[in-house]
Symmetry: C2
Subunit: 700 residues, 2 copies
């Protein structure tokens, strides 16, 4: 265990604000602790002599060796109570009391003081506005919820206290147990990152589940979770995913969450298995706690009914698992063991008259096949089958082979005892075969996470000073939006740009065209920080032959002046014209998230960015494998790789450009937003043809 | 009721093959019928005198007035038994016996005879290989399943008998009832279309549920379901959706299913609510049977817990419902009725200390709001709340307002009685709020289906004879693949093509270029039925100026000869060159599905067809609104409509081209496949630039 060992394994807990008043929170907590807690419970309440049979103390300072103080006094005296606890040497404090950050400006300022106090005494502080904490190992229920959790190997944190009471009630009804449970409350001090780190070190926690509405410190969470998720699965519902949900969450907790795209990318990079529903949270949590990871992706289906076998196969088709293809030996063994009418290929249909023994034989053969990484046992009610006996066989065979198994007993009351047998042995069992397969697929997903190799981001040799100079000169011109005049930033960071020059006269334009175009056609663009969509106003001329360069110069400047007379016009860019025949326009960009910092984006460029939104995002810094994955993830990836006989683009150059962009935006917090659009990818490399960025003067 | 009235409401049923042998199917059916059936049960078995207390007859011909014969004799004597039944005047027959189409060639030929016999006697025949049928209204369980269904308003058909036993067992455990249940078996005679039509006419069936592995007659099903689904919701799991699932289904039933794309389009066009999982099938079936349809899409959420309220809001965000925005009056009424700390906007958080009365007040206010089309009541366990009392209030208020409501009681055993109260009143209740919202969304989806207006497909004035001539001339040339030489087909059906000519000499090429290009550049393409990807071999020249036409002609022919010396070269096509600046390449195509006939496809064209697969499909004939929907459905629709300041293309011309293509492929069954790629859409209309088709000589 880590720094929170004492919080979860105290010898003595003081309830500050303990009372016997009926219906009060202070009574509920005291009673819950008295029920089963193996350690000492101490009541602190100066207005009482005795609380539920305990002597009541005036102050926590009157009691020696208190490990954890659970604070339930009114908000106005919470700070005093905590100071006393700190002075008494208590390091672990759970603040149940509400009326802090979640309730107006007075509460918010009280929460700031609370945080300062915690820093002063170096407190591990849960809450405020928390339901409390549980450790089933010690029978410790330091919450005011109506029920205690049953023991288990899942540790669960929730940003909603009500959800904790709901889950414990529901889980007790399903024999689903927990090791630790924490209601995070307002997360003034301890937050999700702390508990992830703690449980990552805890041998009694096999799976970490979380319900989160925001993440306090995005970077800390990603680092902590990435480390922990190698060994311990982390499954999270992050709510406020949708626009409506995000505004509901903001009004509920007062938290300003970062963008959904940032959470999506960050949780993935952190190795968190993100789910969208409560059902998936506990389905996935249960199977991860109960079953081993599959060594391969092939699923064997053993069924006594053809139709449900087809549905199960569809569910496998929907997942990232596959239908196992059996070895010849396996097929022969099935032929030996099963009646003629049986289907000895996958799904293995052992037919409606199958007794338990036939299920056993078939499952035994299937699990022995090296191509089988997981199995689904599916049974419909028949006259010849005992669900209870089947459940016992499945439990034994699963234990023997140590291959993950999920069950689908398709019935109602007749399956109840069998389902209990299976779930007690950690084998998930559902009526709907799709849920069984989804759960197995969660095992696969976590297996892949646990095998991930995290590469350090590469540090390229760049001209950081030149980049700084460009950003600062923009600052001096008192603008926060830059366009092609900032192409030098990309040059400084080694992101290739086309040969180009910015000129401010007809004759310079002709010279520049001669230089960058070498006699061929060129591209010319108006340069103005005030004109964003240059092509929409005719501010871009493509394929300008040498003899038309001078006139085109005049023409572009005139158009820009007509369009926006007060626009600052910095000149005209004369640019090398790329051979677009084998080229693909992509976009590489960045914006800055309040929780997670710079997000790097890559996608199909040009008009398709807006219409098809074929893009993917990572929290910076982006490593080489991660940049490569970004390329893999976009729908248009085959276009880059030479679909329909096209020549593939230089993938390595694209990947390197993404990494260099990542380095640039990580180095300069002043860059708030940046788009390279298009980043033209060709078989010979990439060229950043246009750039737009927004900078924050304050950060310069 | 329709033509199957007697099948479901017989006065007298004969069990042909009735027996008292323990564990036999014949005994199970006889016993099931004897248990509760209100009519007469007659045993037929020449080897017995008495079966389970019934006199046993030698033949069904010995018994007068038999309405339904349930046949469970061995396969070899099934046909004799059915002939006797037919001769005795029985018109409704349920064949339980297996060993027909599902088992080898002997079985298949027996099934053909069965079908002939049914035609001879005009029998309504269920099966063979069926579990049987139920009608709970009459206590009639003519199946060999272990349990009888409870009464209800859902009628259920299943292509898997085992799935029927599973569902009945499971549903009985949840108080979910059925009106009729049919195990379809091999569907030799009666199939899904017949039962859809029957239940559409049945006032006791509120919802039709189906588990199907294939659809026997695609067109008949679409027509029947389209009619029925206006009044009665049809929810179907069509399995074999995935490649793996389809091959599992084929090996299970021997059925050759059409393509998944065809099912997807056909079920949608038929107004069927297609679901992928067993869970959705019964979640959606239950709410459709129990709740009214929402008049608007706004959902009110009333909750005693903030966090779960946010999850519910996310689920609304995932659906096609929306979070209701309350009127000022509603907000004022909430402010009046609720404590200060409550959130009076949606989701309405009435806070953790809410008693039932506060839930009642809040729900009353919410349901009275004209913007609220549906409501979710969400409750976590608290000391102040009685779930049972809450359930009763919710039932009353739902009945008063006749607005659909779904409940989320987030707990375990403490919610059991309340859940029973709710579900008995037809109000669905789940632990996971996402399921509650999904169910409400199914109501919305069905509401939209029930309001659909089906337009008749337009019939354009076309030159059918010219089209026939082109197809027949291809037949005479003994080829089944046609290319640009078939552009005349499109001309005949009024699908615009670019000005074009096919020439076979240098000089004709020059003349043609002068004619179609009017002095501008032209496009030139090799014409050969043997060369499919012309541009890959350099068989296409774009932007050929008049002076290069003659040389390009030679060049194209030489390339084609070099590439494939034995290719038939029909000449070179000289084509008007389109201004592609404001153009979007689309594809319009067709292939023929064994179950559903011609499928019309539309999508983004060019290289994107293969890479992005941005296409959509309809079963022909395609009406005008349907063609317009196709355009709406593709991801790239905004490109056609003028994204980023582009000029929008002529949408009406695209829509008309799709309809004309639909008419062409409907008129000529000989066209097996056809692709117009690209169909270039511009602000001024469309042009079919290239066409490829495959024809079936037999159908000419």
């Amino acid at each position: 265990m880590g720094q929170l060992a004492t919080l979860f394994e105290p010898d003595r807990i003081a309830v500050v604000g303990a009372t016997d008043r009926e219906g009060s929170v202070g009574r509920a907590i005291t009673a819950n602790l008295l029920a089963d807690f193996e350690g000492d419970v101490v009541a602190v309440n100066p207005t009482k002599d005795e609380v539920l049979g305990l002597e009541s103390h005036d102050s926590v300072t009157d009691v020696p060796d208190v490990d954890v103080a659970v604070v339930v006094v009114p908000p106005s005296i919470v700070l005093d109570a905590i100071r006393e606890a700190g002075e008494a040497g208590v390091r672990d404090v759970v603040v149940i009391t509400a009326g802090f950050g979640e309730s107006g400006s007075e509460g918010a300022s009280r929460e700031r003081e609370l945080r300062e106090l915690a820093a002063e005494f170096d407190l591990n502080l849960v809450g405020p506005n928390s339901l409390g904490v549980m450790n089933t190992d010690l029978g410790m229920n330091a919450t005011f919820g109506p029920e205690s959790a049953q023991p288990g190997s899942i540790s669960f944190m929730s940003q909603s206290g009500a959800f904790v009471t709901a889950v414990v009630d529901w889980a007790n009804d399903r024999n689903l147990g927990f090791h630790n449970v924490v209601s995070l409350g307002n997360k003034a001090v301890l937050d999700e990152s702390d508990f992830v780190a703690e449980w990552g070190d805890d041998p009694d926690t096999d799976v970490i589940l979380g319900y989160l509405e925001d993440v306090v410190d995005g970077r800390a969470f990603v680092e902590s979770a990435r480390e922990v998720s190698r060994e311990t699965p982390i499954v999270v519902v992050k709510s406020g995913r949708t626009e409506a949900g995000a505004s509901a969450a903001a009004s509920h907790t007062g938290a300003i969450a970062g963008s959904e795209a940032a959470y999506e990318a960050a949780l993935d990079q952190a190795g968190v298995l993100r789910v969208e529903t409560v059902q998936d949270l506990f389905d996935f949590g249960s199977i991860l706690a109960g079953q081993p990871l599959p060594e391969s992706d092939g699923v064997a289906i053993v069924t006594n009914a053809g139709g449900p076998g087809v549905m199960t196969t569809d569910a496998v088709g929907d997942s990232d698992l596959s239908l196992a293809s059996f070895t010849d030996e396996t097929v022969a063994a099935f032929q030996e063991a099963l009646p003629d009418e049986a289907n000895v290929y996958n799904p293995v249909d052992i037919i409606g008259d199958a007794p338990v023994e036939r299920f056993e034989d078939a499952l035994d053969v299937a699990l022995a096949d090296p191509n089988v990484g997981a199995a689904v046992v599916l049974a419909c009610p028949t006259a010849t089958l005992s669900f209870e006996a089947l459940a016992e066989s499945v439990v034994d065979l699963q234990a023997e082979y140590e291959t993950p198994v999920a069950a689908t007993l398709m019935g109602g009351s007749s399956t109840r005892a069998a389902n209990d047998t299976l779930s007690s042995a950690g084998i998930p069992t559902y009526f709907d075969p799709a849920r069984a397969v989804r759960s197995l697929d969660a095992l696969r997903e976590y297996r892949d996470i646990s095998r991930r190799e995290y590469a350090e981001p590469e540090t390229f040799d760049v001209d950081r000073e030149a980049a700084r100079e460009i950003l600062e000169s923009a600052g001096r011109r008192d603008t926060n939006r830059l366009g092609v005049e900032a192409m030098g930033l990309l040059d400084a960071y080694g992101i290739p740009t086309p040969g180009s020059d910015i000129v401010d006269s007809r004759s310079d334009a002709v010279d520049a065209a001669e230089r960058v175009g070498a006699g061929d056609e060129v591209v010319m663009k108006i340069v103005s920080p005030d004109i964003l969509h240059k092509s929409d106003i005719g501010g871009v001329a493509v394929g300008v032959p040498p003899e038309e360069v001078a006139d085109t110069y005049e023409d572009l400047v005139t158009r820009a002046r007509n369009y926006q007379p007060d626009a600052t016009i910095l000149g005209v860019q004369v640019q090398e014209m790329l051979d677009m025949d084998a080229a693909v326009e992509t976009i590489a960009g960045m914006n800055r998230d309040p929780q997670f910092g710079p997000l790097v984006l890559f996608g199909l460029g040009g008009i398709f960015v807006e219409v098809l939104e074929d893009t993917t995002v990572r929290v910076a810094p982006v490593s080489e494998p991660s940049a490569r994955e970004m390329l893999d993830e976009i729908e248009a990836a085959p276009l880059l790789r030479g679909a329909r006989g096209r020549e593939p683009v230089d993938e390595a150059a694209v990947v390197e450009a993404i990494q260099r962009l990542s380095q640039l935006v990580t180095d300069f917090p002043a860059i708030v937003e940046l788009d390279i659009n298009p980043l033209v990818a060709t078989p010979d490399g990439v060229r950043a043809v246009d750039v737009r960025l927004t900078i924050d003067q304050e950060e310069l």
